[in-house]
Amino acid sequence: MITGSTIIFYLLASLTLTCGFLSVTTRQIFRAAIYLLFSLIGIAGLYFWLQYEFIAAVQVVVYVGGIVVLIIFSIFLTQQAGEKLAKQKPGRKIFSALAVFCGFALTMIQVYQHTFYETSETPLPTTVFNIGKKMMNVNEEGYALPFEVISMLLLAAMIGCIVIALRSKPETK
């Protein structure tokens, strides 16, 4: 029985995997960034399909709206227009493909041999209310401490970026 939900799942999965593959194989760097964008949108769609709407929204805002735009800006700053990436040695390509295929096969064999036991607990609806209540909770089940640690990390990263990007003054002045 093929339902609409199943068809949507397979469409999103193929979008994600096809665009991801094209993103690492195309020789034009700008196209790679655009394929990466669609791959990330496909993953956001999968989160929507799983009914984790908050994570999907965060994915779209942070990855599609933030990181991909950052990557595109850095491509414009560092790359000459219309220039293709250098061709790779076929030996390295073959070796990488072989290693990746072996790793993938090994992982999938392990996954399919393992039986996952589903718990019968009642699902907690992943509404923003529940997420916020858990994130700001300082009790045992809360995530207030990692939240604070992440905020410190973001502050440190911001200061680090500014320090790295500062143009050092020429010494002969």
Binding site: T16, T25, F73, V111, N130
Partner: protein, 104 residues
């Protein structure tokens, strides 16, 4: 076609992870290597969400791990791009083969 479940999501996540690893091994340009890392991080996120949805629906641990990984990935991308642009300023190239001053 089968009804999609946990194994399908694990398949997608593993495939995406190894696509990212392939890109990381074959690319020699720092920005494209960063893109491969983003793919790898996304596959990890998808894994966390799939386990949370199908195995522990009463808890939210996977969801919070995903949130924190997204935040760390954003910080990592920002720092990496600052380093890449600085490297381009001093070397006029962002190829990893040309950035070997710290090698020896």
């Amino acid at each position: 076609m089968m009804e999609p479940g946990l194994y399908h999501l694990l398949f997608i996540s593993a495939a995406l992870f190894f696509i990212g690893v392939y890109g990381f091994l074959t690319r020699r340009n720092l920005i494209t290597m960063l893109m491969s890392i983003e793919l790898i991080l996304n596959s990890v996120n998808l894994n966390f969400i799939a386990f949370n949805k199908y195995l522990w629906p009463g808890k939210m641990d996977g969801l919070f791990f995903t949130l924190f990984i997204i935040a760390i990935a954003a910080a990592e991308a920002a720092v990496a791009i600052a380093i890449i642009i600085n490297l381009y300023r001093s070397h006029q190239s962002i190829d990893v083969e040309n950035a070997e001053e710290l090698k020896y």
